[in-house]
């Protein structure tokens, strides 16, 4: 059963990602990407990382992709079909990066290492922590104790980005 679910989610995410990249219509791409996020969340669920699964859907599936869709609808209404890949140099660069990534990946798979025990260990560790601190506590505790300063700095960085965006938008609007 869990094998079947894993292959279903894995196929869903890989196929969805490939189709998302090859779509001409940006709205199709957005919807396919949402599908990918749901498949990935399914895999998180199978790893007993329930909180990550939920947050993945809430933030990426529910908020960020809706914003993408909103912007696409607002700007070009999803009918544009221009190609972002300009010139043979860009295509060559992107293509070779993809081939290199695929080569590394297939090398890692081909060298015969099985990752199943590692995944099992990770699941065991997660389950133990969930027992101890609760499903949210195990994310929240380290975030607000060990990584508190990093969290604050990230917040300030995001705030700066937001203020910068507003300033840039204001200037043009007059």
């Amino acid at each position: 059963m869990s094998d079947f679910l894993f292959y279903a989610f894995a196929t869903g995410s890989v196929l969805g990602a490939i189709m998302m990249v090859t779509r001409r219509n940006p709205v199709s791409a957005v919807i396919l990407l949402v599908g990918v996020f749901f498949s990935v969340s399914g895999m998180f669920l199978m790893l007993d990382a329930h909180y990550i699964a939920a947050i993945n859907v809430i933030l990426y599936g529910g908020a960020i992709m809706v914003l993408f869709l909103f912007v696409i609808m607002l700007l070009n209404q999803g009918h544009a079909t221009w190609n972002d890949m300009r010139g043979p140099a860009t295509t060559l660069l992107a293509g070779s990066a993809g081939v290199a990534f695929l080569a590394v990946l297939s090398h890692r798979i081909a060298d015969g290492t099985t990752y199943a025990p590692t995944v099992d260990q990770a699941g065991q560790a997660l389950r133990a922590q969930a027992q101890e601190m609760g499903i949210i506590g195990m994310v929240a505790r380290p975030l607000f104790t060990d990584y508190a300063i990093v969290l604050q700095v990230t917040g300030v960085l995001l705030l700066a980005a937001m203020v910068g965006t507003i300033v840039l938008a204001r200037k043009r609007g007059g």
């Binding site: 859907v57 909103f70 949210i136």
Partner: protein
Amino acid sequence: MSGAPFVVATAIKAIGAFTVLLLAVMLATYAERRIAGFIQDRSGPNRVGPIGLLQVIADGLKNILKEETLPAQAIKPFFFLAPILAILPATVLIAVVPFGAPVPTPWGLTELIVADASIGFLYVLAIGSIGVYAVALGGWASGSKYSLLGGLRGSAQMISYEVALALSLVPLILLTGDVRVPEIVSMQQSFEGGAAYGTWFVLPLFVGLFFFFVAGLAETNRLPFDMPEAESELITGYHTEYSAMKFSMFMIGEFAHVITVGALVTVFFLGGWDIPFWTGDDIRVLDNGVVVGEPSILISLLTLAAFTVKTGLVVGVFMWIRWTLPRFRYDQLMDLGWKFLLEAVTVYILVIALAILALEGLGLPRGGWYAAALFTINLVVAGILIGLADRKAWIRGGNVSARLTRAAEGGE
């Protein structure tokens, strides 16, 4: 209970919850029209069947038999996807809502909840956020300007209020320390041992209830927040081009969402299936399998009835509001969401967190006095919020635009 009985029980509960929800949707469409009739001093549907109850079936038949139209400009796959996305999240949401006290069965004690998810109401937020796609895609794929405007408004509005909706539940986590929905219900009952509060959270968190209710109204696109379908401006907004059963699916989705939000308000703030002033229904299954209280089929039925009544009342308030308040203007709606609700909820979280810290510092045990102290703080917060908001200090109301118009005409 585990293994095959668990699978069978879950399947029965899932099918049962789905069927009851759809029946409740039918009743809700009827109730809405009767309530509208009552408020507007007319009869409402009263011809088909006894007191008009069969009107719903007549409408359903009509919608099935009508022609499905496909606009020439429509983008086909998304045009078909949108109604499905409208109905799916609203019906799936009900899975984490507990309907009543655990029932004793020959195969062991069964909790009356489809899925006791460990992520609890995060599941509600996750699934609820998919509903936006129905509005956005429906509006965009119809290939009509009115639909597109409705879809754009809808997605902007739902993104804005989702933030407030999620934040308005933070005080609840602060009180309960748990996101599992059955746990939240048992926290509102009076168990021995200090973990439970013994009062419904409507008392210690009633400003939170107000925020959740307002954001819930906006999430379900009900008046006074029904900008996506504002019929006086956009015909019917994002579902203008839909006909027959596809239109019906949008409507079923909307009503199912209203009922689900009603159920969530009940579970989070009105004690869930708890019967007030009676400790006989204080039944829970602890994590180690120990059963507290004496479950029986009669108690389960009684709590089921209590849950139904409470949810019905909340849904009734939804309808009452719809036929009482006028619609917001779009800029007012955005101002309310971003410039009032978001800040107010954030400040409220801080106040409640500090209050809980202080109460725990004083060593007050959880119970009546604890709730009363928080209630007093809520009263103060509500007084400040309503006192300021009512003077239009934060929400730009009609007086501002009137002043602007007068200034533009050279009056001031």
